[in-house]
């Protein structure tokens, strides 16, 4: 037990690591996570629309994309994009290593988010689309104005899971060999660990991750609740039902 607290809970080492974790690690983890999330949301939404096409040859490439990026370990995708692309002469971000990391994580997230949105879109009753088409709306306006807004609301909880996973997966970009200033939380913690042969800095890094993911989950949950209440303003008329939903 004494070994454990010496190796993992050394407050002096934590104190030493705190500055870099806070200023460099936290900042970069947030940039990488938010950037990848934004890519994943936009890419996932577009891809989900392709996956619900009635034509198989439209769906097929989207299925291949999703199977591929869900199937590969994220760390391998990061290596392929961050090291593979530049070595093939494709350097859209020059030497900004972390930007390749964002792109790689965004590509992975796109696959997961697409599946989440697809589930949401397909859960919307087909009468909703029919009613929109019956008044002369095109397939795409019906999707944009009627089906997608309803589908997205229903999948906020699983979307939260994806965001939380993404924040943690942002640690994987350390494999690209980040220079000082580019390091995210895990890499900062790891450097200190290697320096002192002590894991306490990584434990502190872990606390930072929790400090990001818990408020994030609560934020999305609150949005979820607000949207649900907006949908039925007659909350006071249904106390038992609403109570059950908000347990």
């Amino acid at each position: 037990m004494e070994d454990f607290s010496r190796l993992f809970l050394d407050l002096r080492i934590m104190g030493e690591a705190f500055g870099d974790l806070f200023r460099e690690g936290l900042r970069n983890t947030l940039i990488v996570s938010v950037g990848a999330m934004a890519l994943g949301l936009v890419g996932g939404l577009l891809l989900s629309l392709v996956t619900v096409s009635r034509r198989w040859w439209v769906r097929a490439p989207a299925r291949v994309y999703i199977d591929l990026f869900r199937g590969l370990p994220a760390i391998l995708t990061i290596v392929l994009v961050g090291i593979g692309l530049p070595s093939a002469g494709i350097r859209p971000f020059g030497r900004e290593t972390w930007a390749y990391g964002i792109l790689a994580l965004g590509l992975v997230s796109t696959a997961y988010v697409a599946e989440i949105f697809r589930a949401g879109i397909q859960s919307v009753d087909k009468g909703q689309m029919e009613a929109a088409r019956s008044v002369g709306m095109t397939y795409f306006s019906a999707m944009r104005l009627v089906v997608v807004p309803q589908g997205i609301r229903r999948v906020l909880p699983p979307l939260t899971n994806e965001f939380v996973a993404l924040v943690k997966d942002s640690s994987l970009i350390f494999v690209l060999g980040l220079s000082v200033g580019e390091r995210e939380l895990f890499r900062v913690g790891q450097n200190v660990t290697q320096q002192y042969g002590n894991y306490s800095s990584l434990v502190l890094a872990g606390l930072f991750y929790v400090a990001i993911t818990v408020p994030l989950a609560h934020l999305v949950n609150r949005m979820d609740r607000r949207l649900r209440e907006g949908k039925r303003l007659a909350v006071h008329e249904l106390p038992s039902v609403v109570g059950a939903v908000h347990l």
């Binding site: 088409r133 019956s134 002369g136």
Partner: protein, 248 residues
């Protein structure tokens, strides 16, 4: 907009619909004149709803032609969105959009399809809602309304596009009995105003009172048709006699 205004408003010619090996429509021929109210009755599974859904191509006919004002809407290259904007439809399950207010439900198509400004579309929506007696519900959400009110909003939504023909697909079948009348009253008034209507229904009283012509369908074909007093008063076929015996 109307190439042959003197011809029938809706014409179905040799209409067939197959789902795999199941033949749901076996050659339907029907002309509906301007201002005519046609009620379609028949046992469930007889193809009534499928026929109705072929009129605005929510169901693609396997064979045959659908004409609106003489225009073949099943032709290759027909602009189905433009056609649908002239054909109103009301569904059994209302299909209101739950994430919008009632007024937005009615205003959406005039705004997005006809290109009206948002304020003009909302003003039109209030007008149409007033016509179905729901002016005071404009800002409510569909879920806050009763089934009968929701169905009246659905009618207002279809009317907001100034359709040339209205299709009603068993619109009172999902309603509690005490809510049926308010919806039928709106439809009755619409018929009185000269709207061309095709009404698939189980409400025999409504068909008898409002229809200019009643069609009896069974097994994917029109078995018998005529004015309501003839069809209900002296049915010619055994199948219609049996059907009326069951429902009346």
């Amino acid at each position: 907009m109307s190439p042959h205004t003197d011809g029938p408003r809706v014409a179905l010619r040799g209409l067939h619909k197959r789902f795999g090996r199941l033949e749901v429509l076996r050659g339907i021929d029907l002309e509906v004149q301007i201002g005519e109210v046609v009620c379609v009755i028949g046992p469930s599974g007889s193809g009534k709803s499928t026929m109705l859904r072929c009129v605005n191509r929510l169901e693609e006919p396997s064979d045959g032609v659908v004409e609106i004002d003489g225009e073949d809407i099943t032709a290759r290259g027909a602009n189905i969105d433009a056609v649908r904007s002239r054909v109103g439809m009301v569904f059994q399950q209302f299909n209101l959009w739950p994430h919008m207010t009632v007024a937005r439900n009615v205003a959406l198509a005039p705004q997005r399809v006809k290109g009206m400004t948002k304020s003009a579309a909302l003003a039109l929506a209030r007008e149409r809602l007033a016509e179905v007696g729901l002016a005071d519900k404009a800002e409510a959400r569909p879920a806050q309304l009763s089934g009968g009110q929701q169905q009246r909003v659905a009618i207002a939504r279809a009317l907001a596009m100034d359709p040339e023909v209205m299709l009603f697909d068993e619109v009172t079948s999902a309603l509690d009995p005490e809510l049926v009348k308010e919806v039928l009253d709106v439809m009755r008034r619409l018929a009185g105003q000269g709207m061309t209507m095709i009404v698939v229904t189980h409400e025999m009283g409504f068909a008898r009172e409002v229809a200019d012509r009643v069609l009896f369908m069974d097994a994917g074909a029109i078995v018998e048709q005529g004015p309501p007093e003839q069809l209900f008063g002296s049915p010619q076929t055994e199948r219609l006699k049996t059907f009326l015996g069951q429902v009346l």
